[in-house]
C-alpha cells in the first residue's frame, strides 16, 4: 500500500517535472520523456483500464501542445498504458534486466505507435524518429526510471 502511494506521488512529480523541463524551460530532447516513465510506473500499480486512462490523460496534455497531430499522443500513450498494465499479469519480478527492458520497450513502443498513428504527411524518417530517437530515448528513460526507483525505494519493494 505504501509502495503504491509512493508510485503515485513519484508519477505526479514526474509529470510536473516533464512539462517544466519540456515546456517551461524548453529543453526539448535533452530532457528525458518523464511522462512515459510515470505512465510505466503507474501501469504496474493499476489495472489495464486505469493505465489506459492515465495514458490517455497524459497523452491528451501533450496533444494540447501539438498543433497538427492532435490525438496521436493520447492514442499512443493509452496503448502503452494498456500494454504496461498487461505486463503485471505476465511478468512478476523486479530484476534489473526486466526493468531496463520494460522502460526501453515502453518508450520505443510509444514512439513507434506515435509514428504509425501520425500519418505519412507529418511523420519523419522511421530510422531517425523511431529506431534512433526511440531507442535512445528508451535508454534515457530506463536510466532515469531505474534511478528514481532506486532512490525512492520502489525497486526494493515488489509492486505486487
Amino acid at each position: 500500500m505504501r509502495a503504491r502511494t509512493v508510485v503515485y506521488v513519484v508519477a505526479a512529480v514526474l509529470v510536473v517535472l516533464h512539462f517544466f523541463l519540456h515546456v517551461g524551460l524548453g529543453i526539448g530532447g535533452a530532457a528525458p520523456d518523464l511522462l512515459v516513465v510515470a505512465l510505466l510506473l503507474v501501469s504496474r500499480e493499476v489495472g489495464i483500464g486505469g493505465a489506459a486512462g492515465v495514458g490517455f490523460a497524459l497523452g491528451l496534455l501533450e496533444d494540447a501542445l501539438s498543433v497538427l497531430a492532435f490525438g496521436v499522443n493520447s492514442a499512443a500513450m493509452a496503448l502503452v498504458g494498456l500494454a504496461g498494465g498487461t505486463t503485471r499479469d505476465l511478468f512478476v519480478g523486479d530484476s534489473l534486466a526486466f526493468l531496463v527492458s520494460y522502460f526501453v520497450l515502453g518508450k520505443f513502443t510509444r514512439d513507434l505507435l506515435a509514428w504509425v498513428v501520425m500519418g505519412a504527411v507529418l511523420r519523419g524518417p522511421f530510422v531517425a524518429q523511431v529506431l534512433v530517437e526511440g531507442l535512445l530515448g528508451g535508454v534515457y528513460a530506463a536510466v532515469v526510471g531505474i534511478a528514481l526507483m532506486a532512490v525512492t525505494g520502489l525497486w526494493r519493494e515488489s509492486p505486487r
Binding site: 517551461g24 489495464i48 496534455l61 492532435f70 490525438g71 493520447s74 494498456l82
Partner: protein, 341 residues
C-alpha cells in the same frame, strides 16, 4: 467446473478494466478524428488550465532572454558609439591642429616648413624629438620649432632626411625672452621637477623693480640670434624667486605642452629676425585656451545663426510666407572634444 489448465475466470473487476481500456483507446481515436474546432477547444482548455503554469514559465523565460539580448544589443551600440566618439575626438583634435598649422604656415610664409614630430620613447630621450624633415628640406641646426601656440623647441642635429631637436623641457633649453609689451627682458630656462609633469619654465634675470603683471605673455626677444623675435613661450604665472633687491624670476605657464605636439613648423633657409606679426599679442594663448576660445566663438556663431533664423521667420510671418521650421538652426550645446563647458 473449469478444466484444470484453462485460464483463470475473469472477475467483474477484470472485465471492467478491459472495458475501461477499450473505452480510453476508443476515446483517443475519437480525439484524433475530432473536427479541428473541437480539437482546438480541448487543446485550448488544457493549455489554459493544467498547462498554464508551464506556459507562463516559458513566457517569462523567453521574455528574460529577449531582454538579455536587448541589453546586449544596447551595450554593443553604446560601445560602438563610445568608440566612434573617441575616434571623432582624436580626429577633431588632429584636424584642429592641422588647420592651425596651415593658418600659421600661411602667415609665416616659405621660411617655415611643416613636419611631423616623433618621439622615440626610450629612457633618457624624454625631451628630445625627431622631425621627418632634414638637410634636404633646408633645415639647419638651431632652427626654431614652433606650432600654432608658440615655441616648441629647437633643432640640435640635422641629417639628410631627418632632424633631432630638444623641446623646452630639456635642461639645455635656453631662450632670451621679453614681456609682450617689451618692458622687461630676461632668459627663459627649464626648471626640472620631481616628475616630468612638474617641469616648468622660469623667466630669469628680470629687474627687481620691473612690474610684471600675471598673465602677461612672454615672447622670444630675438637677442642672441637663436630664435626670431616674437614667438610666444608662455605667460607669467607668478614670482618664483627674488634675489636680494636686484633680480626676480617668474614662473611661466607654457604656451605649448610638448607631449601633445604631433605636427610642427620648422624654420628653413634664411633666418627671419622678427615674427611679431605672426603671433599678435591677442592671439598668444595656450592650446586649452585656444580650444575654449574656439568653442565660445562657435557658440556665438550658433547663437547668431539662431537669431537670424528667428528674425527671418518673424519677417516671413509678417509678409505672410509660410514659416519653414527647418530654417531655425538648433544650437548644439555639446562642447568640442577635450573641453569642459
Amino acid at each position: 467446473m473449469p478444466p484444470p489448465y484453462a485460464p483463470e475466470p475473469e472477475g467483474t473487476g477484470g472485465r471492467r478494466q478491459k472495458a475501461m481500456a477499450v473505452v480510453f483507446v476508443l476515446l483517443s481515436l475519437v480525439a484524433m478524428y475530432l473536427p479541428d474546432s473541437g480539437q482546438q477547444q480541448i487543446a485550448g482548455l488544457l493549455r489554459a488550465t493544467a498547462l498554464r503554469p508551464f506556459i507562463a514559465v516559458q513566457d517569462r523565460l523567453v521574455s528574460s532572454r529577449l531582454r538579455a539580448q536587448e541589453v546586449s544589443t544596447v551595450q554593443a551600440q553604446m560601445d560602438s558609439l563610445a568608440g566612434l566618439m573617441a575616434t571623432q575626438a582624436s580626429l577633431a583634435d588632429e584636424n584642429r591642429t592641422l588647420r592651425n598649422l596651415l593658418d600659421l604656415s600661411s602667415r609665416l610664409g616659405p621660411s617655415f616648413r611643416g613636419a611631423s614630430l616623433l618621439r622615440s620613447g626610450t629612457p633618457g630621450s624624454e625631451s628630445m624629438f625627431i622631425l621627418d624633415v632634414g638637410q634636404a628640406d633646408g633645415v639647419q641646426e638651431g632652427a626654431p620649432v614652433v606650432d600654432r601656440h608658440g615655441l616648441v623647441g629647437v633643432v640640435r642635429e640635422v641629417r639628410q632626411q631627418s632632424a633631432m631637436g630638444i623641446d623646452w623641457t630639456h635642461p639645455d633649453f635656453r631662450a632670451s625672452a621679453m614681456l609682450a609689451d617689451g618692458t622687461a627682458f630676461g632668459l627663459v630656462e627649464t626648471q626640472r621637477g620631481a616628475f616630468r609633469e612638474e617641469d616648468v619654465l622660469v623667466l630669469n634675470g628680470t629687474a627687481f623693480y620691473e612690474a610684471v603683471p600675471e598673465g602677461m605673455p612672454v615672447l622670444t626677444s630675438g637677442m642672441g640670434g637663436v630664435f626670431p623675435r616674437g614667438i610666444p613661450i608662455g605667460s607669467v604665472a607668478g614670482v618664483a624667486d627674488a634675489e636680494g633687491r636686484w633680480r626676480k624670476s617668474y614662473w611661466l605657464r607654457p604656451m605649448v605642452h610638448p607631449a601633445s605636439v604631433t605636427h610642427v613648423l620648422v624654420g628653413v633657409g634664411e633666418r627671419i629676425q622678427d615674427l611679431s606679426h605672426v603671433w599678435p599679442p591677442d592671439s598668444a594663448m595656450t592650446r586649452d585656451q585656444a580650444i575654449l576660445w574656439e568653442y565660445h566663438m562657435a557658440d556665438s556663431l550658433r547663437a547668431l545663426t539662431d537669431s537670424v533664423a528667428a528674425m527671418r521667420a518673424h519677417l516671413d510671418e509678417l509678409m505672410g510666407i509660410p514659416a519653414d521650421s527647418s530654417a531655425v538652426a538648433k544650437a548644439d550645446p555639446t562642447p568640442p572634444p577635450g573641453v569642459m563647458p
